[in-house]
Symmetry: D2
Subunit: 389 residues, 4 copies
């Protein structure tokens, strides 16, 4: 069977006499494998497409109908019809989407037109070969929230100007989809997500059950430390923010890496951002712009009280914990990709780790990220392009 | 043979039907291999030790003599004597080092005490199993300059307060070296370096030959583009800086990624820094602090004229080129780890890539980097450490 | 009568043929008058001293008792006893302050020991020739809150390390007070305050009456614009902060100078700081350090969404208004020197102007501000002082 | 005689019993006088106009000719002809300016058309009632350089987009000039300049005589300190910059306020900027935007090595001195408004003070500065203006 990573790991482990030069060569090799993987297109047939959009936006429903019809009807992979399409179950009753008139077009559509629910995304993400989003960056973040575990490839169309996450113009959707579903296949950018877990101190007066944002809160059955109870868990694509909420007291936050206390942070708050989130809130707070291929955790303080506390990037193998001091003046609030404000009391903590479930987005072009930066930050940009090299 | 990366690469290449889930699994596996490698200690016998220090500093020469004597005389690996020691050839004549009295101690020392020259470092880096530096961060940068290709493991002692690169206290040198040369072995941090290459425009009036800093200037025999001639090449551990030099005109610099023009930068200059260099000049210019395990290139502008031009981190697989515009107002100056000021004229360029020759430093402890940050930036630090988790 | 500013103003007004050179000379003259005023010490007898401290802190009450006794008993201005002392009315019942034992010492103390209340500060600030604060910067801010109109000279003692506003060591209180109440007199730093006024939109659902922080809320009887009702008013010494409060939506704030809309600000919030406040919250948000003699309003955005929106300093003659857009997504919160969180609804506004009631602090030494900066920001400071010039 | 500032100063001085309330009232009054002065228009007849432009730019010479002709011919102040016009003496021979054809138009022009030289500006600045500049901000800086002492009112036309200093569109020059030279008069913004003086250590090997930039170097006849010799003097409108020049060593600079050492600065350099210069180099180095009415000196470090060394604003009554340490590693370079690079050796110093000769610019509209900021920094600007207040 193709690439046997298990075996590679075993081999490293057994090599008790690993020499310096062997270490250097292997490390270089591993890095090269990573690069090759990034460049490899996926060419498998796309037989099941899911469409995500704002179910309340009339314009978007009309476009969803148009796209659905085109996907169902355009012959692919040697068959007379197109591919299966999953749309939001809320559209079943939508007059604007008008399911009856669509099904009337072709008998096969009765089996090909399907409906997704958050539960289906949670239980069977492998049902979808491709997810298309219509809307803005918010719709992409919602899609990340829908897939708390494995995520299918995501292709994001923008209706107006392109955003940081919406890199395909909807106007050319036929061209883009024909290419991606055809021989060219799609190149994937595996964007890091964070797995964020709340831990309640046994002494905490704040119950996890108050939060209603999380679709699939993990059962609080595992104890990671004496007196700590595991609470809800969220995957984030952009960032986790911890701030003082409505309190006018400064937040004191204890930051741990792995199991060691690094420092106590006095600030308005703290942003733990992925590279994808580096163009969002972290940028406003003074963080650097970070290419999404870089495996790093951005730690960006909000209005820190120590001038030397600068934005930092930590390696993605570290497990970070932010804890409210037992003897502090109060609580803090955590939000996930801008949603789900959860209160943390004294002794409570949130643990952040690179997720084992990255968010795979379809690349529009090799320098996609630079283009999005140039465009959005209004660089004196790539207009004067001269390919002289 | 242990880990066959070639084979892995081949397998990826052959897998024409690479599916999305296979890609995700392989990527996760490759990342895990990388992490395991970082944690593996090297336990091979250290039979040849090189010592680098400032040959003009009397205190350091005395300590070098002390360390040399201890290394030569302390029995190791089942033999009655110690290990071979290479010291700077300049010390041969040093009265303070006093080679004759050292050789008089033991007949074997005549063969065990050896001398290194820059040429030897260049031609035979594999002769050294370990390089010890005595001094400050400057001595470590000098060591990086000595080894322009493969670099042996580097262990850096500090004489006073610890620095960013000098993480071992010289006072405990016996304890540290006994542990590292014994059963514990040494854990290595493979720090990224950059390979920087000057390209001269055919029209350039500035000759490469004026620079005398580089030990091993590459012959200028390869043409990468019509009208461009490859000039000298340097490895840097901290950063490459391009600035306007004594000119009071603003620098205009064209920045390319791979072969595409990204933007024209108007600024006092530009810093291309490794993660190791993120605590040096880049920090003064507003860059973030970056953990040395992160494979990234920091692009930090110096006094940019566009407020939206913020510090950025690019992935290490990108090839960056900074070019002086053909029709600009003038020249710029390039320096490598703070040395070797080279002038670039109109049309000249410098190309920067992650080096295939990283700089391996011996880790003093798992959270070494956080400690160096806390210490040097005077965080309200890890004194209140409570291991409650 | 000494300096007749009215007459000067009249003269300027009448001079219809004001020439350029006359304008230049007059402007230079006015500036010089300002400088001379800053250097003039006040030498009037200090007959009534008010002491402000935290009435709940036991240590401070003990020291207040000690200071009171010393002020009452030390003969001054040719009289056998000392000066009148006003202490917090709350101390009347304090066992630790022990008024009975104090009054027992001298019959005169019955008339010399007096008690202040917030109401007295409000109605008769001219009763006090000097106000002494014991405590930290918070106690000084509290004193500013007590005197919403004219403020007597303030001398602030620090018990531990000196702060930005507490520039006298309590340990040497006798020396300091003997000097200031003697022939040397006191030099005064007139620190700018802001007068902040809330204006409610007629459509606003938020009533002013909910706030209980303000001691002397102005009657809401004046209409400054159609549909706007004047609400409460506060004097601030450090800053006014407008933020989004517990909402996770970005704040949209419309900023007006005089009567013109300057820009719509998208940010987490906005700080309007005095020069005195430049070392407080504004500094954390990226503002500059500003000497308290400079007549300027600092406008420092908190996490602005536009990279070009940088910290600004406006001249103190401008009237600034920050208004919640009529059609925005929500409300904002205003706080005054870190207190008195007031909610602003759609269409509501807060107006900020340089106050006609500055906050006069006694100078400890000519370069007091530089010293406080050096000390608090841990500059590599003035230890190496060489007066070679 | 109108406003007798001398008398006011005397009165303050004589008032030995200056009370606190009198001090407060006088200070408020002085500030009010300052504000009234800013609002007073100058309405004296403009009988002599000087035009400054780049004498080498053909387009500008053509426009200068057009403007000259219009000024000479348009009847003003009850006379059949216009006003006297001074143009650059270099234009006498210019074919494009074509003086002969101009003089041929009217016999009076022989006396009305005059020529200025740098020497005339130096010796008789009072000859000009108004100076018009045609060009960019560079031309305005050149005009500041021409008038090292008293400066006439400056009106700056822009040919293309408006700049920070060029606030009048040339296209409407007739409208603007008719208004200003008519009953409306002109409102003046007195922009602070700095007087910068070089002091040479007696031990310095660097002679002042090498600099040829200064038009009117002061004779080096005054000794301000033992071993210090006063050298050349410059007025700057934007900023003075001290940097390390071509050296790659960090600059160590000792900063003094009045006669006290404040701190030793380790940085790439230091910018001492006026409020006018706050939108120029200081902004690139992280300084705040400062309204030109604010009497402040901006101290903005360039890439400081201490993270706590932040941009500062000092009051304009302070005398700043930057000195090269006697025992430092080397020299530094000083430039004035981007020109006149002068080297400072060990022990040499530059002294900066608010000049007694401000730079008076004609205001285009009350919120001119905000407009220039909005325009140049591309704020989400004043388009949505609603005057609802």
């Amino acid at each position: 069977d193709a690439v046997n990573i298990e075996k590679v790991l075993e081999e490293i482990h057994d090599d008790d006499q690993l020499s310096h030069s062997r270490l250097m060569q292997t490390a270089a090799g591993v890095r090269e494998v990573g690069r090759q993987l990034q460049r490899r297109p996926i060419k498998r047939a796309v037989r099941n497409v899911m469409i995500v959009t704002k179910a309340r936006d009339n314009t978007l429903i009309t476009l969803t109908r148009e796209l659905t019809e085109w996907l169902l009807s355009t012959p692919r992979y040697g068959r007379p019809t197109g591919v299966n399409v999953y749309v939001d179950a809320k559209l079943k009753q939508s007059k604007r989407f008008d399911m009856p008139s669509l099904l009337a077009q072709n008998q096969n559509y009765h089996s090909m037109l399907r409906f997704w629910t958050p539960e289906l995304c949670w239980s069977s993400p492998d049902k979808f070969d491709l997810v298309i989003t219509l809307g803005g960056d918010g719709t992409v973040l919602y899609t990340s929230w829908l897939f708390q575990r494995v995520v299918p490839p995501i292709l994001s169309f923008s209706l107006g100007s392109l955003g940081f996450l919406t890199n395909f113009q909807f106007e050319q959707y036929k061209t883009h989809l024909d290419r991606i579903m055809g021989d060219s296949g799609m190149r994937i950018n595996l964007r890091m997500r964070f797995t964020c877990t709340i831990y309640r101190s046994a002494a905490s007066t704040l119950s996890s059950s108050t939060s209603t944002t999380s679709l699939m809160t993990e059962p609080a059955n595992e104890r990671v430390a004496v007196g700590m109870v595991e609470g809800e868990q969220h995957e984030v694509l952009n960032e986790l923010v911890i701030d003082r909420g409505p309190s006018s007291y400064i937040s004191s936050l204890d930051l741990y890496a792995n199991e060691s206390l690094l420092t106590r942070i006095n600030a308005d708050g703290l942003i733990l951002s992925t590279p994808t989130g580096s163009t969002a809130y972290s940028l406003s707070a003074g963080g650097s712009l970070v290419h999404p291929d870089i495996p790093a955790i951005l730690l960006t303080p909000i209005c820190p009280h120590t001038l030397s506390f600068r934005p930092m990037l930590l390696n993605d193998s570290v497990m970070l914990k932010v804890k409210i001091p037992e003897k502090g003046r109060g609580s803090a609030f955590v939000s996930f990709d801008g949603k789900g404000r959860v209160e943390l009391g004294r002794g409570d903590a949130v643990v952040v780790q690179a997720s084992q479930y990255p968010f795979p987005t379809v690349l529009s072009q090799p320098l996609e990220w630079f283009d999005s930066i140039s465009r959005t930050l209004r660089w004196n940009t790539r207009t004067a392009e001269q390919k002289d090299w």
